[in-house]
Amino acid sequence: MMRQRALARATLIATVAMGSRLGAQALAPKVLPTPPERTYTIAVASEGTDEISIITFGPSGATIQARVPIGLSATDPDGPHGLAVSPDRQFYYVSTAHGTPYGSFWKLRANDNTVVGRVMLGNFPATAQITPEGHLAFVVNFNLHGDMVASDVSVVGVDDMVELTRIPTCTMPHGSRLNAQGTKHYSACMMDDMLVEIDVATLAVSRHFQLTKGKEMGMAGAPMVLASAGTHDMSGHGMTAPAAGDPACSPTWAQPSADGTKVYVACNKTSDIVEIDAASWTMLRRFPAGAGVYNLAATRDGTKLIATNKRGQSVSIIELPSGRELARIPTQRRVVHGAAVSGDDRYVFITVEGIGSEPGTLEIIDLRTLKTVATVDVGQMAGGVDVIR
């Protein structure tokens, strides 16, 4: 499809299914009888179709309001992956993974989906988040593409959309989050079994943490990372089950607690979550999660941790601080990806990539009833998700 180019406005559609391209595979919208009391607006990035879906979810259900094409190349994949909304809700930002070969970070105005800025970053820019005061973005350069070499985290000044610095961290830096105070940035090192902490004040790595089961240890300073020798295997990006007894964590997400005192790390291979005390930089415990736990999100009230289970085709709702799994909710399609919690902690919005030509899906879970209350099909390979309003 010759997509409407980057600076153009979105084509708007008002139906749930994403037009004829989804054909017979499109699922019918499902709205369960606990409608929300207000309308939420969610943005979802579809890596397979180079578009952002803007979805509203309200008393009348979930509806796609706009499909926003993103990317530079009309004929080659750009791969929108990470998505982050500015704290003032005026803008949203999207990382696109592919380029020649470097990817980009885009800024779009939320009220009309117009691109207002772009900056080229590193190899496969992925998870992104904006600092609480809204001036900086932290974007991990996942570097899934090539040699297993140490990569970095880009810091972008989003007012001017310029890259201020790149902070070297580790091999395949992945799911990352800032603490609520905006003072620390945590990213998972998928191939190095490590968690890396960046001090936002100094824009430098302050600590790192070894996550391999049985060898957990917090350390000061930046990790010494060597190029991984010999293999490019990345466990099917979280889809391949580990060998029996493999102690490797293969961390895919780092999520600080609401108060910033703890950091939760999703271990995709061992299918458990490591809880780290942010002050003492020691492990408090590991608690089990679903198969291939992948992304995490936390409610702002500190009572729940939401985990997507990539291999398990489900979402776990975990009670904090107990670590008890309150519910494991199956998803309709496979390859469960991202999670974003509404500002009022009422709902969590889950993206599901699907496989092949299956559409991506946004599944909406009511965090009170712990039930899926709506689903909506979006473009293929739905990944990055955030709540605009």
Binding site: L7, A8, T11, P77, R89, P132, H145, T183, A201, R389
Partner: protein, 677 residues
Amino acid sequence: MSRPTSVAALLMFIPFIAGAQTTAQPATTPVGPAIASLQILPRDRSMTARDTMRLRARALDAQGNEVPNAVIRFSRAGGFFEGTIENDGLVRSGSTGTLPIVVSATILGRPPVIERLEVKMLPGAAHHIAVTTAVSTLAIGQRMRYLATAYDSGNDRRDDRVLWTSSNPRVLTVSRDGLAVAVAPGAAKLIATAGTVTKDVPVTVAARRIVALDVTPASADARTGDVIRFAAKPMDAAGKAIDGLTPIWSFSPGQGMIGADGGFVGYEQGTYTITASFGAQSAEATVTLTARDVRRPLEVVGRSPKKRFTTEEVWLHPNGKVAYLGSGSGGDLFYTLDISNPANPIVSDSMVLNTRRVNDLMTNAEGTILVNTREGASDRKNGIVISSLADPLHPVKIAEFTEGMTAGVHSAFVYTQPKFGTHVYATNDGTGAFHIIDITDPYKPKQVGEWRTPRPDAGRSLHDVDVQDGLAYLSYWNDGLIILDIGNGIKGGSPSNPVIVSQYKYDLNDLYRQVELAGGSGFIRGTHTAWRHKNYVFIADEVFPSSGVQGAKDASAGRAYGRLQVIDVSDYANPKSVAFYEPEFGGVHNIWIAGDTLYMGAYNAGFRTFDISGELRGDLRAQQREMAHLNTADMDGFVKNAAMTWGVVVRDGLAYVNDMYNGLWIVRMKPKRGITP
């Protein structure tokens, strides 16, 4: 809701519930004075190319005092091929050019203060001079412009004005700008000077005066686009030829071109006068050109529309009865079509794979295996898939190879060399590397070689591969055309040890300046495909603007651009562009050459064919070499009523044309009108 509504309008009706939306607040309150400005030293931001320079910066408050807790960072904001800068301000120049830099000062919780600057990386002192006018003998009275350029020790071109003097003005005078006039018989040196560097150009002024001049052929009849080589024969009073002299060539009227070698090509029918000049002596020849008249009608023989996904590469089984068709834009399959009756192509099978794009597919020469590429796989392993064609109508997957190709493979070429076996030559979307995978045992593919252009990762992108006679022709985007020996022997290369033979690189930004003017900076452009034919390599660029037409949508919002160039590689050490084609609207994508005909998928410009017989020079479109055009738009398509012609495979007089928007077309070029086949 049944009709489109603007997002802005919708959002107006979304009730804002105070308190329902958590507004994040920075828990840290900035302390101390705010940053008012940056002081960056040195103020002179120029440096010698390939050297280093240290930039330093201080954050100052409104009173000019240094802000102690500011974090200063230096970052590159462009010039990714020319240099680097460390976080601490150390600039490492890699070449001449301009390095845009962002200097930032941040304090936690406050907006960063940013200053942009540019470091000019200039050539070093003049080191040598290259003279480009290769004329060493002049006739008395002849005028000749000598051109020269100064370079530094790294062979970077300098902007010095090269000044000329003559060692013997009684024999040869020269202006400061290099216009030489042969005055009298004898020897002289023209001396080119740039700074402290000089270059001597020995010139002999022939003793014998030219009293007669012949141009041969004196007349010629040809067609537009034919290259006619003229020779000048100056003679003395005795009627003897004076060897070694070079005239200045010109022609009139009309459109065309003539080179220093006397090769002329005219674009329009009519009579041209060709002139060779040696100062006061000149001679003419006459050329009469008739219209090329190669235009031929087309016939659409068969059609297989595709609407569910975009259509990607088409490939034919060697038996000519089976076609394979890729899918994209979320397409997770390729189709197998029975084309034994081209008027009625029938989908006989399809293979669903873990992918969201099958961009390329190709069989081996024997037709026993099929290789297809993958991009967008859900496990992100991508790579290539190998299928058995024991039954060509029903491929069966037998193996895949993904190691190191997780970002996806855009193009793959299957090629067998008796000495080395069968290999897949593949592109890596993520690293821009060229991978060589041994599939002699197709069940056990293994990588045996890898090659990449010696440049920083930024900007390295490999789009397509063509292999012929043991030479791989790589369309290397920013790096232009690269020719590798992968078994030919010209450079001792092999599949496991590719060796570079040649490179043809050109200024894409300059070539497509109008695309940047239309759609803004950051547009897509690069060397996209290559095809060797005789002593030429045909290369085509893929070009898209960075933004569409404001207010337009769907097919109206954008278009492709691009140019096909004909590169003469008869001398591998000096490849040169000799001819080109550029559509008025649309682009140039994949090509196929059979006999003297070039077939092209030209994106928005549809399907086109060209007569490429004889020597090629100049503008192929202007000289009327285009033979046929089909607008492959169809209401029955993924995108309706718009052409996006991808490429073509030619077999037995039929062109199998794939259109990205609407599937497969089977087209025959019919004889010229008035000729009964």
